[in-house]
Symmetry: C2
Subunit: 226 residues, 2 copies
Amino acid sequence: MAQDMTLLWGSGSPPCWRVMIALEEKNLQGYNSKLLSFEKGEQKSKEVLDINPRGQLPSFKHGNVVVNESYAACFYLESRFKSQGTKLIPDDPTEQALMYQRTFEGLTFYEKLASVLFYEYYVPEEEQHDSALKRNKENLSTEIKLWEGYLAKLGSGSHLAGPALTLADVVVFPTVAFLFRFGLSAERYPKLGEYYALLKDRPSVKASWPPHWLENPKGQDTLKDL
Amino acid sequence: MAQDMTLLWGSGSPPCWRVMIALEEKNLQGYNSKLLSFEKGEQKSKEVLDINPRGQLPSFKHGNVVVNESYAACFYLESRFKSQGTKLIPDDPTEQALMYQRTFEGLTFYEKLASVLFYEYYVPEEEQHDSALKRNKENLSTEIKLWEGYLAKLGSGSHLAGPALTLADVVVFPTVAFLFRFGLSAERYPKLGEYYALLKDRPSVKASWPPHWLENPKGQDTLKDL
């Protein structure tokens, strides 16, 4: 049990979700979990700022150790609890290489997703351009094809860096889940569809599924034509 | 000697520079080093695309292992050559936590720098807004103050995650070097100035100093009022 851990998080935030999956995979259930509301601006509350001067979620504390960046928290948890739960970083250097490569490409994948889904949220109205959003969509489409190709190469039933789940899946799966939540066609991207189906019923993923997605199982169709 | 390694890189690219510092710190001199020109678009050449479908630099190969993302390459090199050269990831989990945290905050630091320095390069002219660039500058200024504060807390002569150099310095130093190359005031940010002075003469940093900065030692003053 992980009673000496506290996670402040927001529902459906991919960075938060990464840390929640890592905690589950490392068998660290029972941590102090506090769901905050982005809509109410609670990421800027004193409670968050005391841990995280950036006023962002996730904010994560283990005893006196603070690790807020989602990737940093995942690396920390894997290192601190190496022999507990799922081994997220393989021992073999060649397997590690692919795992690291996909893990860090995952940041670009998420960024390209966010630049489409959250365009109107991040860009002030008077600075928005149809040409920019169109370009962002094209870039996201190119990016999705890259990942579809990675999965095709690895073969059926594979995870992102080989047969077993690794850190790469922990950090990238939330991005893939967002794609399908927002209407990506599993017919057009069958490998990503298969990967999504494989992971979505994994206990760590089910246990951390965004609560507001559970309340509203139907997503949107923003990405249906991609 | 590292004759089984190849690094394709561009002069003054912070991501490339990270990998070059890591190679030096791990005593991996003698790799096949090929300087390509962004101006000539050589990052889209067949030579790069054969290793890196994204057509980006750095592109890095060790034997048959390809690791192109700069952070991934640094993690791979540290893991593969753990007992060689500088230990970039400390053993102690608490020290690791701070190191991971700063390492990943480093991505935000670089992003905020790039959103100012490369604004006109990345944003098509008809989509540029003075209001956006102004906001980017304010965000960069806030970010710089955060790092100035981190260094102030650690005390004089410190590296980013404690007394010794770690992975955090390897990945963040190029961003700091860019700040001063583009005119940041070391009087206004004395801790960052001290940190820059400490690192710039380190052998790994000197050996990998951007060649076009050596040719033209004088930088620009874009950030002088920040």
